[in-house]
Symmetry: C2
Subunit: 386 residues, 2 copies
């Protein structure tokens, strides 16, 4: 690493901690003068009022070296926009006028990451599967299935590593030996939730655990909302599996919409409080209803390549009959024979057309003719002869 690169890294680490993300004024300053000069100006307090407000509380605190040592000790790294690993393509969504119009949807200053996967590669074909912590067995089942099948289809599953839906989605992807990414709302040393240290390690083994927050930062509710924009930005589409009335799901949906990402919601029983949020998203036209991974892939996949196969069911024997043939067939009772005259009367089909319909039905093996008239042929009846 050249001294210039080291200085850049230090500056990004400082800037990443000096303001609570997202810090739109600071982001603008960095965009204007670059990170090294911006860091110097912030430290000196020689910045516009907006930037001062964002950075005032922490500007004299420089923990950049300590943070970089801490992430190294965790086996992780700081990924900055100047790196080849930066997920530039995925994060291009932050630069659109729609995203820029709202201060909540700013790109992160840098990302703390650990894991074997490169963020730029992981970000190429990513789907988010998120939802309630207090999920039901149904929700966890669906999340795990979606995680598994998405991974099988070559997608990287991204989520928040929380209890419930998030964990089920990560685990589903891991079960398919797929790669998965967890975005945390705290420093990577925090192991949040505590019970998921093992899961996070398994995620990192082939994928990545990522956070906008430097080591030491505790999770807090507002950080989850800020974090959710990163999940929305990384993923081509976000699937909400279960969500209560009050949940981050609707905010994630607005983030995704502002970032030009599609939101999908999985329905569930209307008797389940954990599906209310999903149904609301669909009703309010903020999300597309999805029931299978093929439908997700159809939405996020490459146009013309990934199309959900039509649902089908075993064919019926009467499939493809014209309405008239069907009417004649239906006029035959299940177990009693009928003469054409009766069939014409019962079906309302003119007699001469009943007479021509019956042989056609016979050709299809649906009816037969005996001494007392025409009768239905049972589906399982084996006909002898040729």
């Amino acid at each position: 690493m050249t001294p210039g690169e080291r200085a850049l890294r230090r500056a990004r680490a400082y800037l990443n901690r000096v303001a609570e993300p997202p810090a739109p004024a600071l982001a603008d300053l960095v965009g204007e003068v670059g990170p090294v000069r911006a860091a110097r100006l912030v430290t000196a307090g020689q910045v516009p009022q907006q930037v001062l407000t964002e950075t005032h509380a922490r500007r004299e605190e420089d923990r950049a070296e300590a943070d970089l040592s801490a992430i190294s000790a965790l086996g992780g790294r700081l990924v900055v926009p100047e790196d080849a690993e930066w997920p530039a393509e995925a994060f291009a969504c932050f630069a659109t006028p729609m995203a820029q119009a709202d201060e909540r949807w700013r790109a992160p200053m840098a990302l703390w990451a650990r894991g074997a996967g490169r963020l730029d590669e992981l970000g190429e074909r990513m789907v988010a599967v998120v939802g309630a912590r207090a999920a039901t067995g149904y929700g966890e089942h669906v999340a795990a299935e979606f995680g598994y099948e998405l991974a099988e289809d070559g997608f990287v599953v991204i989520s928040g590593a929380a209890f419930g839906i998030d964990a089920a989605a990560h685990r589903g992807a891991l079960a398919a030996e797929g790669r998965t990414v967890a975005v945390q709302a705290c420093g990577l040393d925090q192991a949040y939730p505590a019970g998921h240290q093992g899961l996070l390690d398994r995620i990192a083994a082939s994928g990545a655990v990522v956070s906008e927050y430097p080591p030491g930062v505790r999770p807090a509710r507002h950080r989850f909302l800020v974090r959710n924009r990163l999940i929305a930005a990384f993923a081509a589409g976000t699937v909400v599996v279960e969500a209560g009335v009050r949940s981050g799901a609707r905010r994630t949906a607005s983030a995704a919409a502002a970032l030009g990402r599609v939101v999908m919601a999985v329905p569930g029983p209307v008797t389940s409080a954990l599906s209310v949020g999903c149904h609301l998203l669909v009703r309010e036209e903020q999300a597309v209803l999805v029931t299978r991974v093929a439908e997700v892939v159809e939405v996020v996949g490459r146009i013309g390549v990934d199309i959900a196969p039509r649902l089908s069911s075993p064919p019926r024997r009467t499939d493809g009959l014209s309405p008239e043939l069907l009417a004649v067939y239906e006029a035959l009772p299940a177990r009693a024979p009928r003469y054409p005259e009766q069939l014409a009367s019962d079906s309302g089909v003119p007699l001469h057309r009943v007479r021509s319909a019956l042989p056609l039905l016979e050709l299809r093996g649906l009816v037969g003719c005996g001494v007392s008239g025409w009768h239905r042929v049972a589906p399982d009846a084996r006909r002898g002869g040729a």
Copy 2:
């Protein structure tokens, strides 16, 4: 009854049986020359080729008197468009250009009815609840709840009296002492399905059992499809509770759409084959997703009068806090005190604003101040003093 009225009734009864509904050419002829003259022309075979095709098989068979006697014996009646009881307002949907454009959506020639309710009155505020015969416990529960609550809200529930969803909806309405209407795909003497004779009698006690088919006509698959258009026409909106991939639900949806009626679908578990049809209707934008009766009422109810109340949940203590106040509050650990300087650093909120935020949070009972700094106040803590 005058001789003229009697002749009209006889003519409608004859025309109702002479062609299998819907018979668009015959309907046009009746529209042109009136039912009495149309019946005479059909009997004589002096009709255009299209009408001849529709009526050929049965035109020499005049069972009008027998049918009228049969319906009387059942305690029922023939309701014709010339009657005050005819649901003219509901059936106005058959006369729109959209409905007229498709031969499948013609008004019935007459209706066979039994029951205490008048069809014109019952048709004023009607909602259809339909779905699979092989319903799940979930589907039957939802159908019964919807039937009950719609009846409580003063709606007449209309359905097809089939096993499963239909029966649950009728029973729900009856349980609320509401009125309900069953539309059958066979003659009213057929008691179809056989196990529902008691249910049909209870429906007739305050509502009505109705059919386009004269006494003696057996149920057949094509008749169910034809029948479904009557349910769609009667009701302001049709709710599909459960439906498989292949079901009448999607045809009912096209009928409803052609007749200018709204279709609603109730979601269910994506793991249930009986919810696939409902989810398809929503995905294909043929139906609005509904989860509660209030949402149904919002769709079919009078505009401005019936609006579904917003869903809500118990308020959180931190509801209404500004993002800055929330950030300061969240920076406080659950069980350890902090000084303002630490809070400013942890939250990213400038120190002077942390200092003004803390008393505001204290006023709300969220934080307290002790010798070792500020701390959170537990939700259940009783504060002494005034």
